[in-house]
């Protein structure tokens, strides 16, 4: 079965769950795409670790101001109502429970909510950035992820085998095939692509998918 959502479609689905006025941190890379797909009439306020709330899109090329960047060191612009603050305040917002949603990428997510997203192992130069901070404090810690690794292994697993970013921190996972909540140390399947059977989905998942009520169709526009 080759049918799966693109990264843009996964980001679109994650964006549908963000409420108007929510304070949101999007991880560097793929999760940043979520900002593009906010539903009409809803405006989230985006936080970046290096000290900005209320930033907008990248400026046109040639108009970058390198004092105005995001955590990925990309140039950004400000929206009306934006604010600046230093790093300790920025991470007080993170750990202090003031963010509504953090959306991150991942290598592996365990049914316990453990997350591995910062290191593939001891080779090379280790770098952690704000990943270990971001998984603590936000009311919802969501992950956007391909359901399988490039060589076809499940990214949703019983226990992470890669170095952990945080323990029991993830609350929801948006994959290329499904939407899965983590509740009480279990994966609870909420939505799946209608073209994929439950049996096929389970075979591509490294831990038991539990059912709790209706499994909705995961319906996403062409993007």
């Amino acid at each position: 079965m080759n049918i799966k959502l693109s990264n843009a479609q996964i980001a679109w689905r994650a964006a549908q769950d963000i409420a108007d006025g929510a304070y949101v941190n999007l991880g560097i890379g793929f999760p940043e795409m979520v900002a593009k797909f906010q539903p009409a009439g809803r405006a989230a306020v985006f936080h970046t670790e290096n000290g900005v709330l209320g930033f907008g899109e990248a400026p046109p090329e040639g108009q970058e101001d390198w004092d105005l960047i995001n955590a990925g060191k990309k140039a950004i612009t400000l929206k009306p109502g934006a604010s600046f603050f230093h790093h300790a305040d920025s991470f007080a917002m993170v750990r202090g429970g003031h963010l509504d949603v953090a959306i991150l990428g991942a290598f592996q997510v365990a049914e316990t909510g453990d997350l591995a997203n910062w290191s593939t192992g001891p080779k090379g130069v280790p770098a952690v950035g704000g990943a270990m901070d971001l998984v603590h404090g936000a009311k919802h810690v969501a992950v956007v992820i391909d359901h399988l690794t490039k060589d076809g292994k499940p990214k949703l697993v019983q226990r992470c085998t890669m170095p952990l970013t945080g323990v029991g921190c993830v609350t929801r996972v948006y994959t290329s095939l499904a939407v899965v909540d983590i509740e009480g140390g279990r994966f609870v399947l909420r939505e799946k692509l209608p073209a994929i059977s439950l049996v096929a989905l389970q075979s591509m998942t490294g831990a038991q998918l539990h059912q709790d009520g209706v499994i909705a169709d995961l319906l996403v526009p062409d993007l």
Binding site: W66, L68, K73, F84, H86, H87, G130, M132, V167
Partner: protein
Amino acid sequence: MDKRVASIAEAVAGIPDGATVMIGGFGGSGAPVELIHALVDRFVATGSPKDLTIVNNNAGNGRVGIAALIDHGMVRKMVCSFPRSSDPRAFTEKYLAGEIELELVPQGTLAERIRAGGAGIPAFYTPTSFGTELARGKPVAEFEGRSYVQERWLKGDYALIKAEIGDPHGNLAYRMAARNFAPLMAMAAAHTVVQVTRLVPLGGIEPEAVVTPGIFVDAVVEASRPEQEEALVRAGTHYA
């Protein structure tokens, strides 16, 4: 009271071998390029300072700023959260050759350790890194049913930071996201040296607009046309 210093070279003249130097900036935003390059110039001329421990979010980019300190062999140890960049050669080569030490600290923990150092708080508990390899060997305690890791303060002998506006008392205001670690490092270092883009007379900054009060600052020097590190990196500049 007048904390103004006549030249950038004079501003960094007192930093000794083996010092822990906190350097402001997040990528190119807030990087005090002129102060760092003055340190390189001093080393090229005199062989000092060396064996430095540098505290910054990153570990240099390209061949300028902190990367130039590393290239010149002035740095013994980096304390940072993310030693990667668009061009991380300087640090990567020395690290993989075993010629530079790395203390990897989660970004928010790094900020809070520096803040604690400046605030007289020797240790604190944070949820960050609990259950991960970065918590290895650190005390853990439970509060209200959750586990937290003990982290210790981080203090500097010197801080080198950049501000947009400063006055002779060392009161500072910053430009956009360039403030990042600077207000924390100013608190946490025994000697804080600031390059300001605009030096104004006393009263030139509205008291309500002061972000870093002068009590945390020891020396102010004007660098009225500062280089932007990101622009230097993109231009392929090599500070030798």
